[in-house]
């Protein structure tokens, strides 16, 4: 089933927010085809009735209490920001609402 087309690569690149040049696309068509083709070997296994693993350890209900703990000083929060006005993280103007 792993017949990867250029359109597949472009669709996935769109979801992942990557821009690929033509050469990279061609290479990925081949590589992803190979790798996914290899992954298809899982279809040899009958997994009827097998529960998918949700968590490798049998754990549940790990909670925190509803207690406020100190936040970062704003300077620290913004310390790594590529662009900021000292209050907000700045991004190119968002045109679409949501």
């Amino acid at each position: 089933m792993a017949n990867i087309t250029k359109a597949d690569v472009e669709y996935v690149a769109g979801l992942a927010q990557l821009t690929l040049d033509e050469a990279t696309k061609e290479r990925l068509v081949a590589e992803m085809g190979d790798i996914l083709g290899y992954m298809d070997k899982l279809n040899e296994l009958d997994t009827t009735g097998v529960e998918p693993m949700m968590h490798v350890l049998e754990m549940s209900n790990v909670f925190r209490d509803d207690v406020v703990t100190p936040s970062l000083p704003r300077e620290t929060a913004l310390m790594n920001a590529p662009k900021t006005d000292g209050e907000y993280f700045l991004v190119p103007r968002i045109l679409d609402t949501e």
Binding site: M1, I4, D8, V9, Y11, V12, A13, L15, A16, Q17, L18, T19, L20, T24, L28, E31, M32, D34, I35, L36, Y38, M39, D40, K41, L42, N43, E44, L45, T47, V50, E51, P52, M53, M54, H55, V56, L57, M59, V62, R64, L72, T76, A77, M79, N80, A81, P82, K83, F89, V91, P92, R93, I94, L95
Partner: protein, 492 residues
């Protein structure tokens, strides 16, 4: 003055520092000198913290002077894989997308080591975002194998392995998602241990694949491994997946006795895929353990052949989400000259990631995408259950499993990097352990004819690191050889 403290193990340093035979400052200088002398060749470190290390050493010495307990790792020089968050310096995962990133907090494991009296000497090279088996995917530099500078150190924690093997520091921390501690430890001839999933807090470990990642140590001997585990294991309220279990004193497991223990040899691991020379090294090692009273039993892990496919589906899927956050908004690289948000994401990510990271994000996005989730991701999680079941059944017949760590010794730099699938397949012996959440360990079991280390892997039941250490220590005490200083790095 010949100060060779850099050659010592952590427990030797700790004992000497605590006894006042040497100061933490002297040990630190010794290591910093050593790094200055050999790292130009090895390229294990991406950042050396000379001043911070000296300051930390001074604190340890001050504690000793004041009669305070300087901790169980007093004055021990430790290097950290760049995947661990540190307030000191930068945390970049050796990716351009995190260039210059300064973490506002220390990883829990780092905090705990500092509390134990460790002295951090710097950050270590790795495959970008821990994606790779050779450290060739670092965006910064190529680390060399101390045993042969033309070979890779393994990966993704290649810097951590090379630094210990090259005696640049006594201990390093790495992370292991599919073998990234054990495989480079095998390649570089040091001890590497991946604890049970949940044993060590992942808080402050930049996530590659959240359900598989664990932090663990590289050390020169098994005893040092126990010391590190004592310091870093245990529940952390900041990591929901860290186990709420008591942490034993792991040094109690260093008994040098395996009599009556059953060691399983999974038949699926000892096939033709394993090179003859490697096979011989492993057989010899297993004979040593047998000689110490262990009973060797054959076990079966029937789904081994499906582990690589399962692993690469799950780890790429998780990675595709984990790495989404690197978008140039809150931190890290932002592509210049972008005029809208879409462009901001696309240019930043395209320019910021290396080819292997991009490839894995593409794969992971694909296996989760509409129409493929059931066929890949869900199927893989089912097979993962089967793989875990295999181990449960095997452990009904044995106390620990012994296998090779990698099918071949370290390969030449550049030799494999053109074929990703071939590279993925070389993880065959290590990844099942991550899929099943088990503790695993690699320790040196001799040198090949070409002078490269071979690694013996030991796998135990969940949270039974004590058995790992017990078997490993027994082997180490009885293996009948000493690993000499790699020739390339002698007498600098």
């Amino acid at each position: 003055m010949s100060n060779t403290w850099y050659e010592k193990t952590a427990h030797e340093i700790r004992d000497a520092v605590r006894a006042g035979d040497v100061s933490a400052a002297e040990v630190t200088e010794s290591c910093l000198d050593r790094i200055a002398a050999v790292d130009g060749q090895l390229k294990a470190f991406i950042d050396v913290w000379n001043d911070a290390a000296r300051a930390q050493a001074a604190q340890v010495d001050a504690k000793i002077k004041n009669g305070e307990d300087p901790g169980p790792l007093a004055g021990v020089p430790i290097g950290l894989k760049d995947v661990l968050c540190t307030k000191q310096g930068t945390t970049t995962c050796c990716s351009q997308i995190l260039k210059g990133y300064r973490s506002p907090f220390d990883a829990t494991a780092v905090e705990r080591l500092a509390d134990a009296g460790a002295v951090f000497v710097g950050k270590l090279n790795m495959d970008e975002f821990a994606m790779g088996s050779s450290t060739e995917n670092s965006s910064l530099q190529t680390t060399k194998n101390p045993w042969n500078l033309e070979c890779v150190p393994g990966g993704s924690s290649g810097g951590s392995a090379a630094a210990v093997a090259g005696h640049e520091c006594a201990i390093t921390l790495g992370s292991d998602t599919g073998g990234s501690i054990r495989q480079p430890a095998a390649c570089c001839g040091c001890v590497g241990l991946k604890p049970t999933y949940g044993r060590v807090s992942r808080f402050g470990l930049v996530a590659f694949a959240s359900s598989l990642d664990q932090i663990g140590p590289f050390t020169k001997d098994v005893e040092d491994c126990a010391l590190v585990l004592n310091a870093i294991c245990g529940r952390d309220l900041r990591d929901s997946t860290s186990a709420d279990l008591p942490v034993p004193d792991f040094t109690q497991a260093l008994k040098g006795d395996v009599s009556g223990m059953k060691l399983g040899m999974p038949k699926e691991y000892f096939t033709d895929a394993l090179g003859a020379e490697m096979r011989e090294k492993i057989d010899t090692a297993i004979k040593v353990l047998e000689g110490q009273g262990a009973e060797i039993v054959e076990v079966s892990l029937p789904h081994t052949d499906y582990a690589v496919a399962t692993y690469y589906i799950i780890c790429t899927a998780e990675a595709s989400a984990n790495l989404a956050r690197f978008d140039g908004v809150r931190y890290g690289y932002r592509a210049p000259g972008v005029t809208n948000v879409d462009e901001l994401y696309r240019k930043t990510k395209t320019e910021g990631y290396g080819p292997e990271v991009r490839r894995r994000i593409m794969l992971g996005t694909y296996v989760l995408s509409s129409g493929y989730y059931d066929a890949y991701y869900l199927k893989a999680q089912k097979v993962r259950s089967l793989i875990q079941r295999d181990f449960n059944e095997a452990f009904e017949r044995c106390d620990a499993i012994v296998t090779p760590t990698a099918p071949t010794p370290a390969f030449k730099i550049g030799e494999k990097s053109s074929d990703p699938l071939e590279m993925y397949l070389s993880d065959i012996y290590t990844i099942s352990v991550n899929l099943a959440g088990l503790p695993g360990m690699s320790l040196p079991c001799g040198l090949t004819a070409s002078g490269l280390p071979a690694g013996l892997q030991i796998i135990a039941k969940p949270f039974d690191e004590e058995t790992l250490l017990r078997v490993a220590y027994t082997y180490e005490q009885n293996r009948g050889f000493e690993l000499a200083m790699p020739a390339a790095l002698r007498a600098q």
